[in-house]
Symmetry: C2
Subunit: 114 residues, 2 copies
């Protein structure tokens, strides 16, 4: 059993709006949730396209998990990430979807965008 | 003419998502936009219910104005504030409405709420 390797995942309904916004105000963390939202399946920590070191990325994943925005679990030795989209939508209607939409628009308008 | 007393108001479409979220991540500034959204008319700077000094409030109004979220103008000697709801909605669909809804829900759930 991997139960002792599974970190804490708060119910998004118990997370404050402040904590959710503190998580989403960081551009690396917005990139993580936007990539997760656009992925066809859950994503390994090492498979994100991020401009930071592995240890810094690990910090950002933890902030997102503690804010109720992502679920992390092990598949063998890989730590997988899943967006808790439906649960977050129930707790903060429209918020995450609006941030992801705006993030995609900003990326599209940027120098690397379409 | 009051043109030289009217501060700069950027078009919300030219403001970055980062700047908008940096503005909305602060609880005093969320309180300001939520009070403006619930007001029947534009609100004088001195008429907000805020837990900060007048000079600190002035700083928060400026951050909101520079993020394209509020419009400030003079009516006689009073500085008035107006939420730029429709313009922000066009630039960042759903975002401000979701933040205000969540802010109201958080206030309602708090010790001072209904």
């Amino acid at each position: 059993m991997d139960a002792d390797r599974t970190p804490h995942h708060p119910d998004p309904r118990t997370v404050s709006l402040q904590q959710v916004l503190d998580a989403l105000v960081d551009p690396v963390r917005r990139s993580i949730v936007t990539q997760l939202d656009g992925a066809r399946a859950d994503v390994k920590c090492g498979e994100f396209d991020l401009p930071v070191s592995k240890s810094t990325a690990t910090h950002h994943f933890r902030i997102l998990r503690e804010a109720g925005l992502i679920r992390q679990y092990y598949a063998g030795t890989a730590r997988m990430n899943e967006l808790r989209g439906a649960e977050v939508e129930a707790a903060f209607p429209g918020l995450l979807a609006a941030v992801i939409e705006a993030e995609r628009a900003a990326q599209g308008a940027g120098p690397g965008g379409a």
